[in-house]
């Protein structure tokens, strides 16, 4: 178990620096960024898009966008990894939803289902946001943590979540909002 990560992890800082070099058209920096981050971003694509071929296509588009748009990365608004993951998630969700495709798999809300985070506890001691998030999600009602993950990775709005859980919209909305506020308290 690794407990050496700090909020100023040097490897993260260098991805920030690399991304800024990419903004100036540095192809070597672009290739380095790809090798450092593509497993993470492909993981995101696969989580959103179950069809592997589609996930690969979207990953290509994501990195071509990184090449063109690196200049819009603003380190004042967050780290490069966050920028990359957000871009990947948005692109993958756009593809998932393209052409009006709907996701309708029912969501089981039974509280007995454990939070699907495989090793939430393993992250407890990590000092960075990532580890804290896993820890704080683990403290939520498992159904709520699942709803938050589904919203993020499937682009599911309140209305869609309510439909897929077969619960009234108001119930789902207030349930998730309560969960978000307790997440914030835990994370802050």
């Amino acid at each position: 178990m690794q407990n050496g990560s700090s909020p100023h992890d040097p490897s993260m800082e260098s991805i920030d620096a690399m991304l800024m070099r990419v903004a100036e058209g540095d192809r070597a920096a672009f290739e380095l960024i790809y090798h450092r981050t593509s497993a993470k971003l492909f993981g995101v694509c696969l989580r959103v898009l179950p069809v592997r071929q589609e996930a690969e296509e979207v990953l290509q588009e994501i990195y071509l966008t990184v090449w063109r748009r690196a200049g819009s990365f603003d380190p004042a608004r967050g780290g490069a990894m966050t920028w990359l993951i957000t871009l990947a998630r948005n692109r993958a969700v756009d593809r998932l939803r393209s052409g009006g495709r709907r996701v309708s798999a029912p969501i089981e809300l039974a509280d007995a289902i454990p939070d699907p985070a495989p090793d939430a506890e393993a992250h407890v001691i990590a000092a960075d946001d990532t580890g804290r998030l896993a820890h704080c999600l683990g403290r939520l009602d498992a159904g709520d943590a699942g709803l938050i993950r589904t919203a993020f990775f499937e682009g599911a709005s309140y209305a869609e979540l309510a439909e897929r859980c077969a619960r009234p919209l108001g119930t789902i909305k207030s349930r998730i909002r309560r969960a978000l506020l307790s997440l914030r308290t835990c994370l802050a």
């Binding site: 100036e24 593509s38 993470k40 492909f42 993981g43 290509q60 748009r69 998030l133 709005s157 978000l180």
Partner: protein, 229 residues
């Protein structure tokens, strides 16, 4: 629930994708004007990215080969570096112009070559880069320019269109109007250099357009003019 909670919840809902498209667009628009919301959104975006903590699958090697093959061959970053340089030197340049009492942009331009023999075909460009796209068509005879702007995000700034001829000096084609397609006459000093192969770029500028006559903000889109026929 306090107003602070409401703002934080809105930021969280936007970052996590819980809002319907219309609500999300409204919240997105508010980000540019509400620093508190923007800060909360940045915080939640960081936390949301943490949801990917356990995801890690190396992609097959063919993905990189395809990406490398699709990088535009003519984009080695030179243009971007040049634009950055212009931005850096724009202030110096305009100060120098004040001192000298003249700017390079006010020097007499060579008279435009008027083509009377054959009707010059229109030239067109599609500008891409960040979000959105701008398409431009230019009629060399009337020196009129038509632009269609779709999906670009300018925040509190405006989008300004530039032509960058072989001498590397950007010349403004004016501020783009977002709402509707526009016809306009190209400014004379830009019109003389409009031709196939020239680069067009869109930069973000303060309201009213660049105060220096050169791009001062980030370049969000670029493209090359080509013969339409």
């Amino acid at each position: 629930m306090s107003a602070e909670d409401d703002l934080d919840l809105l930021a969280a809902e936007l970052a996590l994708g819980l809002l319907e498209a219309g609500e999300a667009a409204a919240a997105q628009a508010r980000l540019a004007q509400d620093p508190e919301l923007a800060a909360a959104h940045a915080r939640w975006t960081g936390w949301a990215a943490g949801l990917a903590a356990d995801l890690e699958t190396p992609p097959p090697a063919r993905v990189w080969s395809t990406i490398a093959a699709r990088l535009p061959a003519n984009d080695d970053g030179t243009l971007r570096r040049q634009l950055r340089l212009w931005q850096g030197t724009a202030i110096a340049a305009s100060l120098a112009a004040v001192v000298l009492g003249v700017g390079w942009w006010s020097r007499p331009q060579p008279a435009p070559v008027v083509q009377v023999a054959a009707a010059a075909p229109p030239i067109v460009a599609v500008l891409r880069g960040g979000a959105g796209v701008v398409s431009v068509s230019y009629d060399p005879q009337s020196r009129r320019l038509a632009t269609v702007v779709a999906g670009i995000v300018t925040g509190p700034r405006v989008a300004e269109l530039w032509v960058i001829p072989a001498d590397g000096r950007p010349r403004s084609l004016g501020v783009l109007s977002q709402g509707h397609p526009g016809w306009r006459s190209a400014p004379a000093r830009a019109a003389v250099v409009m031709g196939a192969g020239m680069t067009l770029a869109v930069s973000l500028e303060p309201q009213g357009g660049s105060p220096t006559g050169l791009p001062t903000g980030p370049v969000i889109l670029t493209g090359k003019l080509a013969q339409a026929t």
